[in-house]
Structures are given as C-alpha cells and as structure tokens.
C-alpha cells in the first residue's frame, strides 16, 4: 500500500490471518526481540536503545519515548505499571485500530519489552469502549502468546513475568489524556488529574507508571530488532526516528492509513501521492493536519514537511498524524461548529474555562450558522477561545481553542459573511 519501501506496519494491514501468532512468528521474526532483551540486555540498555531510536510518542504530544521511560524511578518499592493508551480518540485518527486488528503481537511484544525495561509485572491496555471487536482480538492474541509462554511466569527462562489486561473504556474522549485514562482505569470518572505529580511518579493506582500510545509500543520490537540507530535513521529529519502511520481522511480520493518514514514527505505529497488528490476533481480549501484539535492550514500552506517540528514552525501540529482534507465546497463555519460541538460534548466539566467556554463557543457558532449572531460575535468567539487556551487543567481546552482561533484567523471572511447576513443560513 505504501509508496515507500521502508515500512514496518502497513504491509501486514490487509489480511485477517496476519493477526495470528503463527504469521507473526513465521513472517515477522515474532518475539525474537523480546527473547534477545530478556536473554541478555539490562533494562537500562533497553531504555538506551529506545532513546537512540529517537522515537517520539505517537499519541499526539510527541514526547520522546525513551526519556519517558527513564523517568520511572528504579528504586521504588511500589509496583510499576506500563499502560498502553489505545483510546484513539482524537477525531481523524484510526491507525492504532489497524495495529490491533492486524499486528496485535507487535503490540504485545512491545509491551513485554517495555515492561521489562521499566520493571512492570502487569501491563494494561486501555482500549476505547467502541473498539469491542478489537478488544476481543487483542485478548485472543494475548491468550495465544500466553499459551506459548511469551506471557506469564518465567518468560524465556529469564525469571521475568508479565500479565497483560485489556481494560475497556466506555465512551469518553478525555480518557485519551493520560491522567484521565488512569482515573478511568482505576474505576473513576475519566477526569484528568492535576500535574504534578506526573504518572512516572504517581500514576496508575498511585504507582510509577509509563503511559504510551499503541503505535509507540508496537515500534519497540522494531527498534530492538534493527537497533536504535538504524531505527532513528529511518526518519528523514532530526529528532524524529522511525516511520509514521498517517490516517488520511476527508475529501481525498483514497482515504486510508499510510506509513511513511518520519519527515520524508510534505503534506502536499501525502495528499496528492498517497491520497490521490482532492476528490471529485475539486480544489483544496483547507487541511486539518494532526487531528481535529490541530490548527487548520490553508491550501497554500501544505508544502511543509509532514513532521513534528516543521509543522510547529508554521503554527500547527502533527498531533496523532491524522490528516483531514477539506474541499472548496465545504462551509468552514459549519465545520468549525461540528468540531467545537465535539469538544463541548467531551469536556469532562471539572475545570471552569473548558466546561463553560466550550459550550459558549458552540452556542456562538450555532447562532452564526443560524443567522442569529451579532457582528461583534466573531471577535467575541476568538476572545473566548483565548480565555480557554492555555488556561485549563488538561490539554482539552487547548484542543478546543486552537481550531476556533485558526479557522477565524485564516478564513475570517466566511465568518463575517454569516454575521453580516451575506450568507444563506442553515
């Protein structure tokens, strides 16, 4: 499926039988990396290798993964936990689902290696509640691995033991935020926690915890197999190793999950070469480059290289690598209303700016779309967004504010047309 030779995942994303342990062992050198790690590497060596791999977290924040693991205290008397974030909730994103459906053993092996690296004996996979089938597939894969002795006690005769539990969410975007996820794992409302303390110090069940995205963990066996440096070199720009799974959706001819070496293509190339261009021969109007919370780009801004730092330079973000393409006929005020409605719906409600502000922004946009807004409401909308962004307890406030600020900044005339009555209303 990919146009690039160097892919680690997508070549397996096509056939149901690829998810079996037999396939994994036969075609993907399954569990050899874990055998190597448990057979002779120290936990510190594993963390070092992951650091060398220059892998950034694939969940959205892009935090260097090796560094995250190194924050786990070594001499803690408490149990330590590795928690895999399979909540995949940022709109536009659906890559982790593919990993679980087609290469679940990559994830399990990654969990095994990661658990060894941080000293965890019981790892949890927090999977979004809607992925009912995927949770079952993953549980079946875990059973396969256990039956072969890859999980349980004394794995590969090393004395190391590990259990993995799949924990299902139940419909809450905010549980993709790592501390909201931990509360949800503990049987609470998925409300994000005040940080500090950070999960590395006090996470799941008040114990040191590393929370990593599915794709991040599934890359770990690759890192061990090919070595951290070789993995790092897959990436085409500094500080970003490996490949990236990209969820390409919206108005393209060929939506899909693609894989490219990190930083190897521009947004334009991804949309045109991988996605086959804008559908129905239409023109491009806008691109949401990293999940629905990322600041929107105009059609003129897509020559940036698609990776964390180049996107940051043009004022947006790569997030979870979910690109949504918007064609020329799309009403961006209505689209922004849809995005804002989502964040208002998903606000956990514990902190003031997000609980009150997201709903207010939704109301303002609703009024605009229905021709009830005043001409000053566009500026009011932006000011409200400014009182939310950077002011909330977790990043959901920013996620709600950034689309509003960027849509109005870049497509102001569409908003003005609504409030000045130059546009037919819904």
């Amino acid at each position: 499926m990919s146009t690039n030779a160097k892919t680690l995942f997508v070549q397996h994303f096509w056939k149901d039988s690829n998810r079996t342990l037999d396939y994994y062992l036969a075609e993907m050198n399954g569990y050899e990396a874990a055998r190597k790690v448990l057979g002779g590497m120290t936990p510190d060596q594993v963390v070092e290798e992951v650091k060398k791999a220059n892998i950034r977290g694939r969940g959205g924040a892009g935090f260097p993964m090796g560094m995250k693991w190194s924050f786990i205290p070594k001499n803690s008397e408490k149990p330590k936990y590795l928690v895999c974030n399979a909540d995949e909730s940022e709109p536009g994103t659906c890559k982790d689902r593919q990993i679980i459906r087609y290469t679940p053993h990559l994830l399990i092996e990654g969990l095994l290696i990661g658990s060894y690296a941080i000293g965890c004996k019981h790892a949890y996979v927090y999977i979004r509640g809607e992925y009912v089938r995927e949770a079952l597939l993953l549980e079946a894969a875990i059973e396969e691995a256990r039956a072969k002795g890859f999980l349980g006690k004394n794995i590969f005769g090393s004395g190391f033991e590990l259990e993995i539990t799949v924990h299902r969410g139940a419909g809450a975007y905010i549980c993709g935020e790592e501390t909201g996820l931990l509360n949800s794992l503990e049987g609470k409302r998925g409300e994000p926690r005040v940080k500090p303390p950070f999960p590395a110090v006090s996470g799941a069940f008040s114990c040191p915890t590393a929370v990593n995205n599915v794709e991040s963990i599934a890359n770990v066996p690759h890192i061990i197999r090919m070595g951290g440096e070789a993995f790092a070199q897959l990436g085409k720009i500094d500080k970003s190793g490996g490949t990236r799974l990209i969820s390409l959706s919206g108005h393209v001819n060929r939506p899909g999950v693609y894989e490219v070496p990190a930083g190897s293509m521009t947004l334009r190339q991804i949309i045109e070469e991988l996605g086959g261009g804008v559908w129905k021969g239409k023109k491009l109007k806008a691109v949401i480059p990293g999940g629905s919370s990322s600041p929107v780009l105009t059609a003129d801004e897509i020559d940036a290289v698609y990776d964390v730092e180049p996107l940051m330079k043009i004022g947006t973000m790569m997030g979870s690598a979910a690109i949504m393409v918007v064609d020329e006929d799309t009403d961006l005020v209505k689209l922004l209303l849809r995005i804002t409605k989502f964040y208002a719906h998903e606000s956990c409600g514990q902190c003031t700016p997000c609980r009150e502000g997201c709903h207010w922004m939704e109301s303002l946009l609703h009024k605009m779309v229905h021709g009830e807004a005043k001409s000053t409401d566009v500026d009011l909308l932006v000011d409200v967004a400014g009182n939310i962004g950077g002011k909330t307890l977790c990043a959901l406030g920013d996620a709600a504010a950034m689309p509003v600020q960027s849509f109005v900044k870049k497509f102001r005339s569409e908003f003005d047309a609504y409030v000045k009555g130059q546009r037919s209303h819904a």
Binding site: S89, V132, E163, Y173, E186, G187, L335
Partner: protein, 161 residues
C-alpha cells in the same frame, strides 16, 4: 437479602477479572460492561447491585456510569445504531445518513422505534475515519456507508428479526 438481578454468569465473569486489578474499585468499568451485556441497559437496580458487588456507595457507581456515553442509563432497542457525525464522517455525508435513517425509521435521533427494534443515536468520532462515514450497530462497525448501503443494512436487520 434482596434477590439478585444479575446472573451467576455475571458473578463468575467478574470473579475471573478480580485478580487482574490491585483494588476492587477498578472493577467498576468492567462490571458495568458485563452487566450491560447481560441486561441490555443499566437500570438503577442493576447499578445498585453493581455497587454492592464492588462495595462502594451507589452514588459512586452512578457518577461513574453517567460520565461515559456507552453506558445506557435508559433502555435501548434491540439494534442500537450509532451514526458518527464527527468531522471525517461529516465531510463524507454523515448528516445526510442521519437524516435518511430518521426518515426511514420514523424516529428522531436519540429515540427508539415503537416496536423496540431500533434506537438511533448520534455518535462522536468512532476512530475509523479513513473508512468514513461509519456507524456502530450494537458491537459492530459498519464502514464506508452511503445511503444505499445504509438502506440495505436496515432492511436486512428488519428482515432477520
């Protein structure tokens, strides 16, 4: 002792999950899923029984259950259709699908058909954006929807029941 509403199967399933968590409170989400799988939805009596099983105040179960959208605190039809209308699906026609489903089933979003067969809901992003538009039909995803395939699906369900 009140009579138990949840079956022995529920209690056995939970028993096997107990050793997987360091405390009982962490069993709340699994228990609610298990109870809903068994009962279809979560009436107050069931929530109270889950509270008793976990060993917490009933209010604590209620606050957790009401936080998550997947726990049905009201009865739902045999086939619960949740159409995603978030960005990626919306860009590819989810609103028209919702309109069509409302018309076809004769109910508004959020309602259940009088025969108790279908409940129609709007869903936020389901995480299958590259195969948009998408809906959930009970536990299954139906992807790459259009009016034709939606119509086909609804007819099939009606026919099978």
């Amino acid at each position: 002792m009140k009579e138990k509403l949840l079956s022995e199967k529920f209690y056995q399933a939970m028993k096997s999950k107990e050793p997987r968590y360091p405390n009982r409170k962490a069993l709340i989400l699994p228990a609610l899923h298990q109870a809903q799988a068994e009962y279809g939805w979560l009436p107050k009596e069931i929530l109270a029984e889950v509270a008793e099983y976990i060993g917490v105040h009933e209010a604590q179960i209620r606050e957790v259950a009401s936080f998550y959208t997947m726990y049905n605190l009201k009865p739902v039809g045999k086939m619960h259709l949740k159409i995603c209308t978030n960005v990626a699906c919306c860009l590819r026609g989810a609103d028209e699908l919702m309109e069509y489903a409302e018309k076809k089933l004769g109910v508004k979003c959020g309602e259940t058909t009088p025969d108790g067969m279908f409940t129609l809901s709007e869903e936020e992003c389901l995480g299958a954006c590259t195969t948009a538009p998408v809906m959930m039909a009970n536990d299954d995803y139906v992807e790459n929807l259009d009016i034709q395939s939606l119509n086909h699906f609804l007819e099939k369900v009606k026919h099978e029941h």
